[in-house]
């Protein structure tokens, strides 16, 4: 295990150890590798000592998040503003309190094998930018491009910052575990919209997680909602009409058909939250 003090050191450590090394953030995924019958990586590069990696800075323009910010830290630090509601809720509802105190946002979005990440759809809906460093230097990627590059990008690389831009928008995050809480959700919908002065939806961004193996935006639904009123029932109907866009993932926790059946319901619930916030704002 190495303890780099800087991103450069970390990249050097990873490069030196080659494919045997893995970067470790909160360690909640890697510590369970024996349960997945995986061989434990011989070298852990612990990122916890890197300056600024735990930082969360909130301004009126953006939220800047260090990759080692924990779910719990984010849930506490984020303001309750409607534009950040999706992110705050994703931080506050994932897993369970003990895990939220150690699991990190960077670890969460870098783990490509984890289909039920709460942050991935939330960041998709918030149009986050991901700062990635590798030996070639620094690169800013839209979150979708980042998520898609995770398996193919040449090692070593690190996420070094996440930027969530802030504008006057409304957002929500809905997830459906089998119990009240505590298990991984079988479907997740994150929504962020702008509302024009006629009360119509503009520039909707919808992130969907857990339904398929990888999270993604639901562009057809986003387009269908453009210019529509903020109406939960209408949104659910529109989602049902377009549900063929998804092929639900069959897994032990839920069959694929169930995920696609409930996804429109989650969108309705998300829009119920958004409508409430919109009405509050209007009044």
């Amino acid at each position: 295990m190495t303890f780099p003090r800087s991103v450069d050191e970390a990249l050097n450590d990873l490069a030196a150890a080659g494919p045997d090394a893995i970067p470790v953030a909160g360690a909640t995924w890697v510590m369970r590798s024996p349960l997945r019958h995986e061989v434990m990586a011989p070298v852990y590069v612990a990122l916890s000592g890197i300056e600024g990696f735990q930082r969360i800075d909130v301004t009126d323009e953006a939220v800047s998040i260090g990759p080692l910010a924990t779910h719990d830290a984010l849930a506490q630090k984020l303001p309750p503003n409607p534009d950040l509601k999706a992110l705050k809720r994703a931080s506050a509802r994932s897993a369970n309190p003990g895990v939220r105190r150690i699991a990190t946002i960077g670890g969460n979005i870098c783990t490509a094998a984890f289909a039920a990440s709460d942050f991935a759809p939330a960041l998709l809906s918030l149009d986050a930018q991901i700062e990635v460093r590798d030996k070639a230097g620094l690169e800013w990627l839209p979150v979708l491009a980042f998520l898609e590059s995770r398996k193919s990008r040449e090692l070593p690389w690190l996420v070094t910052r996440i930027i969530v831009p802030r504008t006057v928008r409304l957002s929500a995050h809905e997830r459906l575990p089998m119990r009240k809480a505590g298990d991984y959700p079988c479907a997740i919908a994150s929504v962020s919209i702008a509302v024009d002065d006629r009360g119509r939806i503009h520039d909707a961004r919808i992130g969907v997680g857990a339904v398929e193996a990888a999270p993604r935006r639901w562009q057809n639904l986003e387009q269908a909602l453009e210019g529509q009123p903020v109406d939960p029932a209408l949104t659910e109907t529109a989602a049902r009409d377009l549900i063929a866009d998804f092929t639900g993932r069959d897994a032990v926790d839920a069959p694929g058909w169930y995920r696609t059946s409930v996804l429109p319901v989650l969108l309705r619930r998300a829009f119920e939250t958004i409508r409430t916030d919109y009405e509050t704002r209007a009044s």
């Binding site: 295990m1 369970r32 916890s48 003990g98 150690i102 505590g182």
Partner: protein, 157 residues
């Protein structure tokens, strides 16, 4: 790798593979067996300890990342003859059954009450969503927590 950390107020030097879970170091090397290895994946909470005051599952904490940190286990929370208010409430309400989950329950709830000394029933239950009990059906645990009057004794640990 050699790691120096404080366990229950005592500075300890541990020599271990840094990937080893804190839980295994506590149980196997320190023979502090109050933290229980039940699910080993962060769902059950039976191995919960305080790391720098935060209640976390020790099965998911590699010992290599804990150099210089302070750990409090159930053995270090209170002397057994002077239980803390959470433990005392559990005794008074006759809540315990098999007992395997309770060290973790006590750790989680002690830390929780320090930051939230007057919780609602729903908040106590939400705080327990990572602590599973297979015997009791929880409600008496929540009753006991809500009966604690003097939270200062909890934080005065």
């Amino acid at each position: 790798m050699t790691i120096e950390l404080t366990i229950n107020g005592e500075v300890r030097t541990v020599t271990a593979d840094p990937r080893t879970a804190l839980l295994d170091v506590l149980r196997d090397s320190c023979r502090l067996t109050g933290a229980k290895a039940v699910c080993r994946e962060g769902f059950c909470g039976a191995c919960t300890v305080l790391v720098d005051g935060e209640a976390v599952p020790s099965c998911l904490r590699p010992i290599g990342m804990l150099d210089g940190r302070s750990i409090v286990t159930i053995e270090g929370l209170a002397h057994f003859e002077t239980p803390n208010p959470v433990q005392q409430a559990f005794i008074d309400h006759d809540v315990v059954q098999c007992g395997m989950c309770f060290p973790g329950m006590v750790m989680t709830l002690t830390a929780f009450l320090e930051t939230n000394p007057a919780p609602s029933r729903g908040e106590v239950k939400a705080a327990l969503s990572g602590n599973i009990c297979r015997c009791t059906g929880y409600e008496r645990i929540v009753d006991a927590v809500l009966s604690i009057q003097d939270m200062r004794k909890v934080s005065g640990r």
